[in-house]
Amino acid sequence: MSEPRRLLLDPDAADFEHELLRAWGDEQPSRAARDRAMGLVAIAGAGAVGAHAVGALAPNAAATSVAAAVKWSTLGVILIGGATAGVSYVARDRHPDVGAETGTATPIRTQIAVPTANARATAEEIQSPPSPSPRSARTPRADMLAEQIAMMDGVRAAIASGGGAHAVRLVDDYERRFPRGAFLEEAEALRVDAIAKTANFAATRHAADRFLVAHPSSPHAARIRTLSSAATP
């Protein structure tokens, strides 16, 4: 079967058709479209570790957190459209730890919660061009995500070795270092685990209650309830 010649190159096709098809050759995406697509790069990076280290971090739960972040960003893309990725791209520069949130979830959540109030700020933020060198901006983000994962690994290792108090300190360190970190929910769940290791029942119940109030539908909730029950005399 011979390959048909494209109409655009077919001398027998009508000139009118040639004109129409040729017009699409000039079609180019906007600079904004390019920036917005490039702004998703952190999600690609998060995906690269999601199936490995993040999954190992806390089976299901940490991966759920990343997935939740991605879901939020998906929702943000759909609902907010134009401004979102540009904002998240810029937001990473303004809040270095935000980039490590793997799905730029926090700024997008904020946008969804109060879109009107943020509209002006959004427009202003978009005025600021993103970093001219994505590569130079990217490596610190990757570093931060890796650092967060390593810190969570440290917490889990401390808990596994019975060092509850040390694990609590490591959770504190994480939250200070990454106040908008990707694994805050996991960190708080691990805090309950860590406190439970210290056999301080009252503190365990208190931490569990706090966690369940803050994250009632968390994938950790059932385990935290179990820890709380076990700490109840």
């Binding site: 129409l20 699409w24 079609e27 180019q28 995406p29 390019r34 697509a37 995906g47």
Partner: protein, 181 residues
């Protein structure tokens, strides 16, 4: 671990750099209005970012096309208005709504006309036409991208061309009528 993240980010950036033009044109050609192409392209690349590990090297364009096709279908479904070029009265009405051609630059006007012609193609044949006539893919490449038999691609392309020629003739006649008023 950091190396894996950087590799994924590098690959994603390369995919965007290489295929954003293709994705944007494809979305337009598949019926996404020009005002919605940036949003739709971002949706496509969001999925690509999430699924990057699952995209085989060299199969990026096929993957992106499949996603773009789904995104475009969603956008079209959500659009309130429907265009049917097969109905000449509707076509005339659309032309009547069109700004004076002199007010539009020629390329924009041509692009809008082509959009209308493509809107008249069925969902079955439209992607084949777009990939061949606009993106210049061979039938073998289209067969791979769309996961269709070569013969199916050939027959759909013929049907698409027949419909395109017929719609182009009607559009041309309608345009000439307007110009002669």
């Amino acid at each position: 671990m950091r190396a894996r993240i950087v590799d994924a980010e590098n690959r994603f950036e390369a995919v965007v750099a290489k295929h954003l033009d293709f994705v944007s044109r494809t979305l337009l050609a598949l019926g996404v209005p020009s005002t919605g192409v940036d949003d739709a392209a971002q949706q496509v690349f969001l999925v690509a970012a999430q699924k990057l590990d699952a995209i085989e090297a060299g199969a990026e364009r096929a993957f992106l096309f499949a996603i773009a096709r789904g995104v475009a279908a969603n956008v079209r479904r959500s659009r309130a208005r429907s265009r049917e070029l097969a109905d000449e009265d509707v076509l005339d009405a659309q032309l009547d709504d069109t700004p004076d051609p002199e007010e539009l630059c020629a390329s924009k006007r041509d692009r809008e006309m082509l959009e209308r012609l493509l809107d008249g193609l069925t969902d079955e044949v439209r992607p084949i036409f777009v990939l061949h006539e606009i993106e210049g893919l061979t039938m073998a490449e289209i067969a791979r991208v769309c996961d269709l038999a070569h013969g199916t691609v050939a027959s759909r392309l013929r049907r698409a061309r027949d419909a395109f020629h017929a719609a182009a003739r009607r559009l041309r006649l309608g345009q000439e009528r307007l110009e002669s008023r």
